[in-house]
């Protein structure tokens, strides 16, 4: 079965005052129909930009320098704006991190939902209204009919995110890109929303690209995980596999630094150092300066993706499958 979404060697550049900046450098991955892929990495790793590129929302001074993104076999890069408008909201959908700013504060909820429906289908106002009520009910908003005539600021953060999710799923898109949608929410609400999105996506057959920096979120949610660092995909595989036996030292570092995994009273483990500036020259593995397994070749040559079993890839000269002592963090 061919993949729903296929990203190949995606390279996204930004032209800044001090020269071009490569935010995403040669990223490739597939997403199958109905699958949940977690895209993990620190801030600035390029995950959000990858998500935006899939929706065609990279604006100048950024641009897709090279690479391809195919949806159901059809190339998305280079599409006209008219084509994009047909796809967005219908086949592709996206929700963003901050629920406070995702909805237009001066328009009512029903306006914002009905326009999303009418942008793609010729339906009457009443029919669209009815569908909006139904959509709100499905994401668990109580008394949806009254809530529709409200304004965004009358909702809590969690509710607003639910409205955004309802809007995104209105046309049962094949792919939903979720850019850290629960990061700005309460931990308890986070868990609820996660479960709901998972259920809704499964119900509608929607594939999920879940972008986050939080491994705990991925653990319960994703089928597969892809780890990004400094604009590159460094590891990919089934979620359980990656989280239990990581191959790339960065992934191992991320997992080790999750607070719940540390013994009580012991100092929290960290990955020393900071991610590299994206303006710096790209020679060798970007993780080399922070890697406990670094060697001379790491600083000279960028490791190519290497398969480590079915559906498993990593870009490392000294992956954790190879015997080499991991220094205690």
């Amino acid at each position: 079965m061919s993949a729903l979404l296929s990203v190949r060697d995606l390279r996204i550049e930004f032209t800044g005052p001090r020269g071009p900046l490569t935010a995403v450098d040669g990223v490739s991955f597939d997403l199958a129909r109905g699958e949940v892929l977690g895209l993990v990495g620190e801030s600035g790793a390029g995950k959000s930009i990858t998500g935006l590129a899939i929706l065609g929302l990279i604006d100048p001074p950024g641009r897709i320098a090279s690479g391809s993104i195919t949806l159901d076999g059809e190339e998305l890069v280079g599409r006209t704006e008219a084509d994009w408008r047909r796809l967005r909201g219908k086949a592709l959908a996206m929700i963003f991190q901050d629920p406070m700013t995702t909805l237009n504060p001066v328009l009512r909820i029903d306006t914002q939902m009905i326009e999303a429906i009418q942008a793609h289908e010729r339906v009457s106002h009443q029919a669209a209204h009815a569908r909006a009520v139904e959509a709100l009910a499905r994401v668990g908003i109580p008394s949806p009919r009254e809530r529709l005539s409200a304004y965004p600021h009358q909702f809590s953060g969690g509710m607003r995110q639910r409205v955004a999710i309802a809007i995104a799923l209105l046309h049962r898109p094949a792919l939903l890109v979720a850019d850290e949608p629960t990061t700005a929410l309460d931990v308890t609400i986070q868990a609820q929303i996660l479960a709901e999105v998972q259920a809704l996506a499964a119900e509608g057959g929607t594939a999920l690209l879940w972008i986050t920096h939080d491994l705990a979120v991925i653990a319960g949610l994703a089928d597969r995980v892809a780890v990004m660092y400094a604009g590159r995909l460094v590891e990919e595989g089934a979620a359980a596999d990656v989280l239990q036996s990581p191959i790339h030292p960065y992934t191992a570092g991320l997992i080790a630094s999750v607070p719940s995994r540390n013994a009580r009273g012991a100092p929290l483990r960290q990955i020393p150092g900071a991610p590299p500036s994206l303006l710096a020259a790209k020679v060798g593995c970007p993780f080399a300066p922070r890697c406990p397994r670094v060697n001379e070749i790491c600083e000279r040559v960028m490791p190519e993706p290497v398969a480590h079993g079915a559906g498993r890839r990593a870009r490392c000269h000294y992956p954790l499958t190879v015997a080499r002592e991991i220094a205690p963090a």
């Binding site: 590299p276 303006l279 670094v294």
Partner: protein, 306 residues
């Protein structure tokens, strides 16, 4: 197994010897419109200052005027044999001279009213901000009240009471403008007041006036400079308007607005030059000042990066 800590790209080397003013100047010069405007302003300023030296005629000296010269079209001959390049008005005044002298008045009124109003308004604003409390509230209420009333009406009424004359126009313009500077400076002062250097100055037990005028006020200057520059143009425009309406400068010392008013009556009959040429001069001055002020604001605004 070296755990080399990451070294981020070193910050761009900052040449600390390059003065702030030079960067601002370079920025300013990057806009061709602003440079052209500044050049035009300098030319007009010089023309106005040196007018008595090279103007063909002193239009205020009634003895030099010949009523037989009136309504001569541009390029025509005067009774004295000289050429009236821009024509003459209904009194026989050579328009070129009248415009040059009118420029003097317009620029003088504009600049002096702004300077005085600025000094008064800025002082009041910074004192009010520093002292705070009831004093500040009362002062700002007065400021708001005055600012909610349109400047032109206020000026009209004041001049209706004062009568005509250049000094009275300046006075009216000062009264109309001071509140605007007071509010601007008070806004910046409120922000600057929180900063450490004010705290430090206070700790040194400097007298209040020294802290206010020596430390606080100088740091509130950038937005004030921008505002004041553009206000000169507004003051000139306002004076021209008041003179046009007949309440500004006296007929014997016509400013550009006055000249335009004189020509207004003849406009419909085709005698265009009495209104048009002073109008052009006025517009060039005003637009030039506005362009310079606009550019100045962009240059001095830390939030904009071009």
């Amino acid at each position: 197994m070296a755990l080399t800590s990451i070294v981020s790209e070193p910050p761009a080397a900052v040449d600390r010897t390059e003065s702030l003013w030079r960067t601002h100047l370079a920025d300013f010069l990057r806009s061709p419109a602003a440079v052209a405007a500044l050049a035009a302003l300098v030319v007009l300023l010089l023309a106005a200052l040196l007018a008595p030296l090279f103007a063909p005629q002193n239009p205020y000296d009634l003895a030099q005027l010949d009523i037989m010269d009136n309504m001569v079209p541009p390029g025509g001959q005067l009774a004295s044999g000289a050429t009236a390049w821009l024509g003459t008005d209904d009194q026989g005044r050579d328009m070129l001279s009248a415009i040059l002298y009118g420029l003097r008045i317009s620029l003088f009124v504009g600049a002096s009213s702004v300077l005085i109003a600025c000094a008064i308004g800025a002082s009041i604003g910074v004192i009010a901000a520093y002292i705070g409390g009831v004093v500040e509230t009362i002062v700002m209420r007065i400021v708001d009240l005055q600012l909610s009333f349109p400047a032109i009406l206020l000026a009209l009424v004041l001049l209706a009471v004062f009568g005509r004359g250049v000094d009275k126009v300046v006075l009216a313009l000062v009264i109309v403008q001071w509140a605007y500077y007071a509010r601007t400076v008070r806004g910046s002062a409120l922000v600057e007041k929180q900063r450490d250097y004010i705290e430090a100055a206070r700790c040194l037990a400097l007298p209040r006036s020294r802290v206010i005028f020596g430390h606080l006020l100088p740091n509130c200057l950038p937005p004030l400079i921008v505002v004041a520059t553009v206000q000169v143009a507004h003051a000139i425009a306002l004076e021209a308007t008041l003179s046009f309406l007949g309440v500004g400068v006296p007929v014997t010392e016509p400013s550009l607005g006055m000249l335009i008013a004189t020509g207004y009556n003849y406009l419909l009959s085709g005698t265009y030059w009495i209104s048009t040429f002073p109008g052009v001069a006025l517009v060039i001055v005003i637009v030039a000042i506005n362009l310079v002020g606009d550019r100045l604001r962009d240059v001095l605004n830390p939030r904009l990066s071009r």
